[in-house]
Amino acid sequence: MNRITQKLQEDKKILSIYFSAGYPNLNDTVQIIQDLEKNGVDLIEIGLPFSDPLADGPTIQASSTQALKNGMTTQILFDQLKNIRESVKIPLIIMGYFNPMLQYGVEAFCKKCAEIGIDGLIIPDLPVDVYADEYKAIFQKYGLINVFLITPQTSDERIRFIDSVSNGFIYMVSSASVTGSQSGFGNTQESYFERISNMNLKNPQIIGFGISNKETFNQATKFAKGAIIGSAFIKHLSEKGSGKIEEFVGEIR
């Protein structure tokens, strides 16, 4: 069974952390993953840096740009992760924009992920329709879970369609925004969380965008299986370096 599916069956709220691979330093990737697991993180999203991250706010953009300046490439990331399964057990997802995957070759990319022990992908600018028509078979061949986003503006009909194409979890974007721009949730978000929760979807939901601390994590996981922290963790890395991960995760849980 895919590690993501297995993890989602555990009776606990999932804490997922996103970071940009190659940031703050090119070779921090493996250490960061190991430290996150050691401190009780359930799932990790490894960001494959891109020059033009359309759905990201300034914090993730800046970390992505810095990672590219540090020399990060798709091949280097794969090389860094080559032996990751010798030390890390929790599910690992690569999150990145479509163009670098297209250049690597979508099938070659998926094959490499499977070899390394990557469990899933999140590709914000690969729409579910195109995936279903052109790429689903490849992902399935390599046992990869593809995770799709929904937002407060996504229609119920489309959510049902996304649920039918998904086989891991649904990434529930908390509000109409790019990453890192919200702090705290109001009534609008809570009613949206509740609406989705009441749809009884086949896939569990994990909420992302706007989760930055214990309070927002608890608020989000009242309605969903888990929550994802990205920009807040990257801010922590940029302020404290990669050696103080325990401090960050400890404050969430």
């Binding site: 250049q103 579910v128 937002t151 109409a176």
Partner: protein, 393 residues
């Protein structure tokens, strides 16, 4: 072969809508409605009336006698430079603001490179009384100061794009992020024939008035609707798309596209996408794209802010791939000299973007009997500082 968009939003393998889910409702709303709205009689009437009385259309098709003598062929200029606001861009902004109004949008955003599209957007927002925010690369703000001042005077807020190369590509990123953050009340007026479907087709349709007029104007002057060649400069490709549109399926009409070679195609400072690009995804569409082997989008370069874009509209990528379009690249130096030559021979100062199209006359030999229509997409007022610097005037 079909050179228009198909029902799935593709031109051959190019196009589509590669957008984050956050943009899906906005783009889908537009896709479902744009053809319906633009084919309604009251839309057409309002669009045509504004093009006539406000923009000043039809724009003249001018026989350039002295230029024709110099190159021993028959050259006509399609005078988009005479439009209100000084370029072809306003054809599209008029169309899109009328669509936005019918969709009930209250707030308009746009990206701009040279500032022509920003000015054209700010203009129609003033005309319709809508809030307007224009994203513009910090570098472009510096090199196109008069247009920045015009936008501000028209009531638009000009927000600098500070990321990446701080030019058109980054301004587009910022506009897309704004749209993600404002999904309900905002319409994004894309200025070029790029972006997710239906944008390339919608922009092309609004700009197609250029080739529609060329047909009847040429018929009046030469007794035939079809020239032997149509020539246009290409950045994203909106003036080119409009200039080619009604000739795409007329095989006797040669389609010539002129890209910015910058300091030379292989110099590392270029924007010649058809030569340097590979298939990729940028700003919501699959097209030819300048990028590293690793799929990172590279920084283009051109002296002309309007051509300084690492991709090209999907329609043009298809024209390049199929060979329907003949693609040339013109250096900064050749473009500047062509601009000065047009000024001296015809008394017309072209925008540096448009000047690129004229430099093709030194690269391709036309027959004396050929009729060549060149799109003079914009006037050079905004580029005076650049001309002065370059020629030490």
């Amino acid at each position: 072969m079909n050179f228009n968009v198909n029902e799935k939003g593709y031109y051959g393998e190019f196009g589509g809508a590669y957008i984050p889910e956050m943009l899906y409702p906005n783009v889908e709303e537009l896709r479902e409605n744009y053809l319906k709205i633009t084919s309604e009689p009251d839309f057409k009437a309002e669009f045509d009336q504004l093009l006539k009385d406000y923009v000043g259309r039809p724009s003249p098709l001018y026989f350039a006698k002295r230029l024709s003598e110099k190159y021993n062929t028959k050259i006509y200029l399609k005078r988009e430079d005479l439009n209100h606001t000084g370029a072809h861009k306003v054809n599209n902004t008029i169309g899109q603001i009328l669509v936005a109004k019918r969709l009930g949008k209250k707030r308009i955003i746009a990206e701009t490179g040279a500032g022509q599209h920003g000015v054209a957007t700010a203009t129609v927002c003033a005309l319709m009384g809508l809030e307007c925010i224009v994203y513009m690369g910090e570098i472009d703000i510096a090199r196109q100061a008069p247009n920045v001042a015009r936008m501000k005077m028209l009531g638009a807020e000009v927000r600098p794009a500070l990321s990446g190369s701080r030019t058109l590509k980054d301004a587009t990123n910022e506009a897309i992020r704004d749209w993600i953050n404002n999904p309900v009340d905002t319409h994004y007026i894309i200025g070029s024939a790029i972006g997710p479907h239906p944008y390339p087709d919608m922009v092309t349709r609004f700009q197609s008035v250029i080739s529609e007029e060329i047909k009847w104007q040429l018929k009046e002057k030469e007794g035939r609707e079809n020239p032997d060649y149509v020539v246009a400069c290409i950045g994203g490709g909106s003036n080119a798309a409009g200039t080619y549109y009604h000739f795409l399926h007329e095989p006797e009409v040669g389609i010539i596209a002129v890209e910015a070679a910058g300091k030379g195609v292989d110099s590392g400072f270029s924007a010649a996408t058809s030569k340097l690009g590979k298939v990729g995804v940028i700003h919501g569409c699959k097209t030819l794209l300048m990028q590293t082997p690793d799929g990172q989008i590279t920084e283009p370069y051109s002296i002309s802010a309007g051509l300084d874009y690492p991709g090209v509209g999907p329609m043009h990528a298809h024209l390049a791939q199929t060979g329907r379009g003949e693609f040339f690249s013109v250096t900064d130096d050749d473009a500047m000299n062509a601009g000065l030559q047009l000024t001296k021979l015809e008394g017309i100062i072209p925008a540096i973007e448009s000047a690129h199209a004229f430099a093709v006359l030194d690269q391709k030999k036309f027959k004396p009997t050929d009729i060549v229509v060149i799109s003079l997409s914009g006037r050079g007022d905004k580029d005076l500082d650049n001309y002065i610097d370059y020629f030490k005037l």
